[in-house]
């Protein structure tokens, strides 16, 4: 289990690599110094576990500019390597800069997203009103701008979030600016769909359903979480209104996409069970197991209730706004959330639900 946590302490900026040993319930922490500035966004390469990208504020007296760069962490800190039995006395490690994703002409970078299933060479960065596609060459030491597109319109348009779809051979990216969600084709860098007024207020985060094409979740300042079918952008498929303040983060479980995690500045993390729009039809897993048993199981299945979307749990461990939530990439039943006060909470999906989904 790995989680990267940007924490602001005065003027020193760090990346924490936290190892969670599920079996022994032990947490280990390694600190990486990020000397170039305050980190606003962080994302790990899907192909190389030692590589990550950050968006950071460049310290400046008169202006705040957010830049982006790709880094490599020291070998011994890579998750899963047990080379260094961590001793807290050891000095903080330093990141190795691979390349800058900077193009100062484009403005502040809001986020960097990696191509989800590629070889870790393609990256999108969102800088103000520009969407930039980078090709990382020479073992990521060189970033070449492969394509770009810009938002056109009146006023100061600014991307706030982006997400790369794992479907359609990774040719689609969704972005959010103000209340609008847009889809882009990375081959032509042109807009493919646009959800105007997706939320009443600013859209904070997006996530694609990993198992169901076209399905996209979004959340925002109107306290809502919405689920979209990008083929029909006039109406959301489903809307959740469980939070009482801005929803900052929304994440589908990687394996069981009915499990949706949201974090909000009402200090709560909510785990929802969105059965009705999941890729796993109700009773599907049972059905496919054994066809010969089908007849015996039918009546039993019918007597069960139709799928109901529900909130599974509300986690209240945080004392301040929760800004990030994510699922473990190793264990589908484990997730972490991070709040303003620097608290990282790791939770498990309730056992009863886990067995209900598995059996």
């Amino acid at each position: 289990m790995e989680d990267d946590a940007p924490v602001i302490y005065g003027l020193e900026f760090q990346i924490h690599i936290i190892d969670f040993d599920d079996e022994n319930n032990i947490i280990n922490k390694n600190v990486l110094l990020h000397q170039v500035g305050e980190i606003w966004h962080i994302s790990a390469s899907p192909a190389d576990k030692g590589v990550l990208a950050t968006c950071y504020n460049k310290p400046s007296d008169s202006k705040v500019l957010t830049c982006a760069a790709v880094w490599r962490m020291p070998k011994e800190l890579e998750p899963g390597s047990h080379e260094s039995p961590d001793d807290s006395s050891s000095p903080a490690h330093t990141l190795e800069l691979l390349c800058h994703l900077d193009d100062t002409a484009h403005g502040s970078v809001a986020c960097v997203v990696w191509e989800p299933t590629g070889d870790g060479r393609r990256v999108i960065s969102l800088a103000d009103s520009h969407i930039l596609l980078w090709d990382l060459q020479e073992s990521s030491s060189q970033a070449v701008l492969a394509g770009s597109a810009s938002l056109e319109g009146k006023g100061q348009l600014k991307f706030t979030a982006g997400r790369w779809s794992p479907h359609h051979t990774c040719t689609q990216v969704a972005t959010a600016n103000d209340t609008t969600i847009r889809g882009w084709d990375t081959r032509s860098m042109s807009q493919i769909y646009c959800i105007e007024n997706a939320h009443g207020q600013l859209v904070r985060d997006l996530d694609f359903n990993p198992n169901k094409q076209y399905y996209l979740a979004s959340c925002g300042d109107d306290c809502k979480v919405k689920f979209w079918d990008t083929r029909n952008v006039t109406e959301p498929v489903k809307t959740l209104e469980e939070h009482s303040h801005w929803v900052w983060s929304v994440r589908y479980n990687h394996s069981h996409d009915q499990l949706v995690l949201t974090g909000s500045s009402d200090s709560r993390v909510i785990l929802s069970n969105m059965v009705s729009i999941s890729s796993e039809p109700f009773g599907h897993l049972v059905d496919d197991d054994d066809l010969s048993d089908q007849e015996e199981r039918r009546p039993e299945e019918k007597s069960q209730e139709p799928p109901q979307d529900s909130v599974i749990a509300t986690y209240e461990e945080h004392e301040d706004s929760v800004y990030a939530v994510d699922w473990s990439s190793a264990d589908p039943w484990l997730f972490a959330s991070l709040s303003y006060d620097g608290r990282l909470v790791i939770n498990r999906v309730p056992r009863a639900l886990k067995y209900h989904i598995l059996l």
Binding site: I8, Y9, G10, L11, E12, E38, N57, P59, S60, D61, S62, K63, V64, T179, N197, H199, G200, Q201, D222, S244, H245, W246, S265, D266, S267, E319, D320, S321, Y340, D341, G342, R343
Partner: protein
């Protein structure tokens, strides 16, 4: 004894007796002579009789011949007499003659001469029958004479069944004419006669006609038995059905109209009129069908009134919107919210009362159908109480709630004041109006029906829930308006290179102004509510919390970057002990709770926005000034002023954390700036 006496007499008067003996002897002689005379007379008489006998017989014979001749003469003259009768129109006479001759002619038809007469008669009779039928068909003569025609035709031996048919066919012609004239009155253009006139006409024309036909038929064809009665019933059913169709078409034209009294009177006439043929024609079921029509119309009226109430409510809402949107003339205040609310409430109530009064006409005692089971039971309970009144209150709540999830997410087109007004309206319904209206309804419509009805408490709960949702939405909308102001003001400013603060930023004044305006607005409709008791000097409390030990502890260490962990730890420990602020707790029905909700949302937004920016020293100081200003003016609106402190504390502390050079302004200077305004 007499003998004794006479013996006595004889013995006493021997002279008298002797004389008497003489007299007797004389008398005897005379008697003998008389006898002889009589014998002579008898002999003579016998001789005369014998002489006359032959002649007498001849005379008797002659008399018989004479009578026969007269009969024959009648028969021979019959054709011409019949012809004459027919020509003169004395059909009755003709039928009587024909009746007299028929049997004889029948008997002697083998004789050629009689045969000829019979043939003639038959021709004439056929003509007679034809003429009778003709007359019958022409119809101008009216039903009684027609009945006579039928009677005569029956006497002529026409087949009864055929006559039934013809009678009905003829009646049909007349009744259809009535129907046609009724239909003409329907017309494509707006109906000229009102509905009462229409049903009156239908009643006297068609229904009256039908009654006549039915009674005449029953009189004439009583001998036909059940088959004949069935024929009549089928006839009445068919024509009645067509009449009902016309009436319903006419009634349908009334659906839009408002006047129930005319309609009820018309229905009453319609229904009353059909009771007579109903009795005559029980089998045709016309009375039941008529009752059904009346019931259907009553149901439709209820639906119409419900629709009317709904649109009245929507009309009220439009009026309120217009009043709210009307530009305020300088010096002249528009109608206040309380006044608008009172207008809406009284307008709806009077509409409800008017509707109740209108549908109450259906149950008036003098109305012929009001004693039908439907109007005594279901109409009152399911129709009026549930369908109309409960239905309207529910639809009102629904309409009101629909403003909460309006599709226009961007603030929505609904003015917040309308939400507030509707919320109060629903709350008033919960507390008083619903039970008042339902009591009124139950009193007017004494419900005898045992079917379950919605209890007052359920309806009240629904109204309360609607009121709560509306008020919650109001808080969200107003909170959003202020939030947006604050968000824009934080997002668009360059906090790093801002100058040393000399003033409170205009946006903060605007926030306070708007909050005050909201406070006034809510105060117009909602009671004050309770505040948490504070120390007596709380009103004078300035934003000196920054100098409090708690605050010092909070971010003083951030001056010294050497101890960052401590700050964080301290802050966390503090949070453990301070109650977490629920940004959105359920709203209560009072002003303080509403304002608390709005201010919480706004300040939380300010906090989140501040955390996203980086501040220079003066930027931080500006935030300090702004927050102090907000503190000065916002505390009075909320239930627990500690809440405002906490949130504003958090704002300043967060700004300090986001500041590389956190040098706060002296509290005294902050105060001076804020006092200057």
């Amino acid at each position: 004894m007499n003998f004794t006496n006479r013996t006595g007499l004889c013995s006493q008067h021997p002279d008298t007796i002797r004389k008497m003996k003489n007299d007797f002897r004389k008398m005897e002689d005379e008697m003998d002579r008389l006898a002889t005379n009589m014998a002579v007379i008898t002999d003579f008489s016998a001789r005369i009789s014998a002489t006359l006998q032959d002649r007498h017989e001849r005379i008797t014979k002659l008399a018989g011949v004479h009578a026969l001749l007269r009969k024959l003469q009648f028969l021979f003259e019959l054709p011409s007499r019949l012809t004459k009768c027919v020509e003169l129109g004395a059909y009755g006479q003709a039928v009587r003659y024909q009746g007299r001759a028929r049997a004889v002619l029948q008997q002697y038809q083998h004789l050629p001469s009689f045969r000829a007469i019979q043939d003639d008669c038959q021709v004439i009779t056929a003509r007679l029958a034809q003429q009778l039928r003709q007359r019958f068909r022409e119809g101008g003569s009216g039903a009684p004479e027609q009945a006579e025609c039928v009677e005569l035709l029956l006497a002529l031996g026409e087949p009864a069944e055929e006559l039934c048919e013809e009678f009905l066919a003829h009646a049909r012609g007349r009744l259809e004419a009535e129907l046609r004239s009724l239909e003409a009155e329907l017309g494509p253009s707006p109906p000229a006669p009102d509905v009462l006139e229409f049903t009156d006409r239908g009643g006297s024309g068609f229904v009256g006609g039908l009654c006549q036909v039915a009674s005449a038929y029953q009189e004439l064809f009583a001998a036909q038995g059940p088959a004949g009665a069935e024929k009549l019933a089928a006839f009445a059913r068919e024509l009645g059905g067509r009449y009902f169709a016309l009436v319903e078409r006419r009634l349908a034209q009334e659906q839009g109209g408002g006047d129930n009294s005319l309609l009820v009177r018309a229905l009453d006439r319609f229904h009353r009129r059909l009771r007579a043929p109903g009795a005559l024609l029980a089998a045709a079921g016309l009375a039941e069908a008529a009752t059904e029509i009346v019931e259907r119309v009553a149901r439709e009226r209820l639906g119409h009134h419900l629709q009317g109430l709904r649109s009245a409510f929507l009309g009220c809402l439009t009026d309120v919107r217009q009043a709210l949107a009307a530009p305020r003339l300088a010096g002249k205040e528009g109608p206040g919210l309380a006044e608008l609310l009172a207008n809406v409430a009284s307008s709806i109530l009077s509409h409800i009362k008017a509707s109740l009064a209108a549908v109450h006409l259906f149950t008036a005692k003098e109305v012929s159908f009001s004693n039908k089971p439907y109007f005594r039971g279901e109409f009152c309970s399911q129709g009026v109480r549930e369908g109309l009144i409960v239905g309207f209150i529910r639809s009102m709540c629904q309409t009101a709630q629909s403003f909460c999830d309006s599709p226009g997410e961007k603030g929505g087109a609904t003015p917040p004041a309308l939400l507030l007004l509707l919320s109060r309206l629903c709350l008033d319904y919960e507390t008083a109006t619903i039970s008042y209206i339902l009591t009124l309804t139950d009193e007017q419509f004494l419900v005898q029906d045992q079917s379950p009805v919605t209890p007052v408490s359920t309806l009240c709960a629904e109204a309360r829930e609607t009121a709560r949702r509306l008020l919650t939405h109001y808080v969200k909308v107003q909170g959003l308006v202020i939030s947006q102001m604050l968000r824009k003001s934080v997002e668009t400013r360059d906090w790093l290179s801002t100058l040393e603060p000399r003033n409170v930023r205009a946006v903060m004044k605007r926030v306070v102004e708007d909050t005050t305006a909201i406070d006034v607005q809510v105060g117009l409709l909602y009671e004050e509510g309770v505040r948490k008791a504070q120390s007596s000097d709380s009103s004078k409390r300035t934003f000196s919390v920054y100098s409090s030990s708690r605050q010092q502890g909070r971010y003083a260490p951030s001056y010294t970057p050497s101890a960052p962990m401590d700050t964080n730890l301290l802050s966390n420990i503090q949070k453990l002990f301070s109650e977490r602020i629920d940004v959105f707790s359920p709203v209560e029905f009072n002003k303080v709770s509403v304002l608390t909700g709005i201010i919480k949302i706004s300040l939380k937004t300010l906090l989140e926005c501040v955390r996203l920016r980086t501040f220079g020293r003066f930027g931080l100081q500006q935030v300090q000034v702004d927050c102090h200003f907000l503190q000065l003016y916002l505390w009075r609106f909320v239930a627990d002023e500690e809440l405002v402190h906490l949130l504003l504390d958090e704002v300043v502390a967060s700004a300090a954390l986001r500041c590389p050079d956190p040098v706060p302004m002296e509290p005294s200077v902050v105060e001076v700036i804020c006092e200057r305004g």
